[in-house]
């Protein structure tokens, strides 16, 4: 016996059709292009970057922008442009790691809470409430301090801190979907809990989750930049945009221009993730229909 996933919530057309419609939205097109270029840049960094991101050259420390160093050099004589290019990879890795962890922990818990109800829901909901009461970055700093300082630990901490956001949304979506007629139908045919969740609830609850994942990527990026700025994320000599800002800040009265490039990189990338999320929401989130 097999029950296909019904198209109750509509708008589940083929991927090419979705893409062609989605990319007609100029905001979505710009954001997607920017993010694809950024991914390409970070993958091709060894070939594109003019210098090594970690090679020091004290003779040229704190140099103004020139043809040799388009964005100048930092206090250790490292090429700022190269560090910016390599930094993109660390930022993207960090964002995807944190959001993957948040999704892998949060979404299943939310699904279970919403689907099983009763005491499971009460317990999971209380845990969600509790974790949401912590100022995110503060708890992340605490967890990072405990696990040991470093980018991966920092982003595991951020992922844990974000997981209740995913859980709450997955729970709310499940509550909506589980009362749909097709779920009742599948249940009355004897579908197992696992099958109900995996085949019927998840596919129909997943669209708002995709939107939330995109928006969380922006938050994770900002969290990584903050942690690296504070010295709790990417560790020197590895390049990171937040870490570059921390150094630029120390030498702000000598070379004030150096604080702009990394800040703009963070701002643009966060803007792009958010713009992508907002555009996706228009197409994917059923509650946004007609707005």
């Amino acid at each position: 016996m097999s029950l296909s996933v019904p198209q109750v919530r509509g708008q589940q057309k083929s991927l090419p059709a979705f893409l062609s419609r989605f990319l007609k939205d100029p905001k979505a097109l710009i954001a997607t292009t920017y993010l694809l270029l950024l991914i390409l840049l970070s993958v091709l960094a060894p070939w594109i970057a003019p210098y090594s991101p970690t090679d020091q050259n004290f003779a040229e420390a704190l140099a103004e922008p020139s043809t040799a160093h388009l964005f100048g050099t930092d206090d250790l004589g490292r090429d700022v442009l190269s560090r910016l290019i390599y930094g993109a990879g660390y930022s993207l890795y960090a964002s995807f790691l944190a959001v993957s962890i948040a999704t892998l922990i949060g979404a299943p818990l939310g699904l279970l809470a919403g689907f099983l109800g009763s005491w499971v829901d009460t317990v999971i909901s209380r845990i969600i409430d509790t974790l949401l009461s912590f100022p995110g970055i503060v708890l992340a700093i605490g967890v990072t301090g405990a696990l040991g300082i470093g980018l991966t630990h920092g982003m595991v901490a951020v992922g844990l801190v974000f997981s209740p956001i995913m859980a709450r949304l997955a729970r709310a979506q499940t509550l909506v979907v589980k009362n749909e007629l097709y779920v009742d139908a599948a249940r009355s045919f004897g579908a197992s809990t696992w099958r109900l969740l995996y085949r019927h609830i998840l596919p129909n609850a997943v669209q708002p989750l995709i939107v939330q994942i995109t928006l969380l990527l922006a938050m994770a990026l900002l969290a990584e930049a903050s942690l690296s700025f504070l010295g709790l994320g990417v560790q020197p000599p590895d390049p990171s945009w937040g870490g570059m800002l921390a150094r630029a800040y120390i030498y702000m009265d000598l070379v004030p221009a150096q604080m702009y490039a990394p800040g703009i990189a963070i701002l643009l990338t966060a803007l792009a993730f958010n713009a992508l999320g907002e555009s996706l929401r228009v197409y994917l989130d059923p509650t946004m229909k007609g707005l």
Binding site: T130, I141, G145, L147
Partner: protein
Amino acid sequence: MKRIAKSSIAVRRLAQVVPVMVLATLVVFGLMHIVPGDPAVVLAGDQATGERIEEIRQLYGFDQPFLIQYWNWLSDAMRGDLSQSLLSSESVSVLIAQNFPNTLLVVVYAMVISLVIGVPLGIAAAIRAGSAADAAVGALSSVGVAMPNFWLGMILVSFFALSLGWFPATGAGSITEDFPEAIWRGTLPAVALAAGGIAEISRQVRSALLEVLSSQFVRTLRAKGLSSRTILWKHGLKNISVTLLTVTGLLFNRLLGGTVVVEAIFAYPGMGNLIVRAAINKDFPVVQGVVLSMVVVVVLTNLIIDILCGLIDPRVSQK
């Protein structure tokens, strides 16, 4: 009758706070136990002797079962004893009492700025939905949300402190001895923090107001011949007050987190600098104390806001 109903909401909300508090304290206490390896060895530091490690183990009760340790820690914490800093041997409660007021000053200051600027922007955008002004507010709030607050802080320091010299670049004033000075020195950190708050508030006010203005009852009021102005001020804003309160509560939580990073820019003596220094130096009692006091403040704020929402809007209390 009415009074009974209202006090029972407060009681019910209080009853919900208890499990959240228990879980929150468990999380804070658990921080010490996710440390890889033996916490006593970690706490004792790199050059510790076996005796010192044993001493620490006894002092923190690591030789006892988890729940007993938790209970001892919790009952000490409730008496205001949050143990001592491993770095300076100062009492953690004293450190928090010294630093928390500075942080709260900046957070409340930033919240006031967010509301004073964000609410009018949101109203303006909603009543002219679809106009250029609406688009401008939307763009501004997109940038505000995506802007790293510490970077904005750096830009503010560069212009208003270093170039123009209008504000001091670093430090805080004493709240009790010289309040105007404290406000003065808190201004740049508060502005850096408020950018995201303005964005969030204006966005939420806009969408809540749009929803109210497009609802059935507003249509009826319009049909009755009420002017747009009366509808907005008398009915529109009254109906978004609960949304505004809820958003303010969420914002408080976010600003409290955001200040941690902003304080680093301004070398501002608050909870942020306290916890960052402690996390880098593995000074766990201080880390726990900061996280604990912040979560307690957030939970209590949420409680007050929930009760206020119930008082303002009877529909909330019927849920």
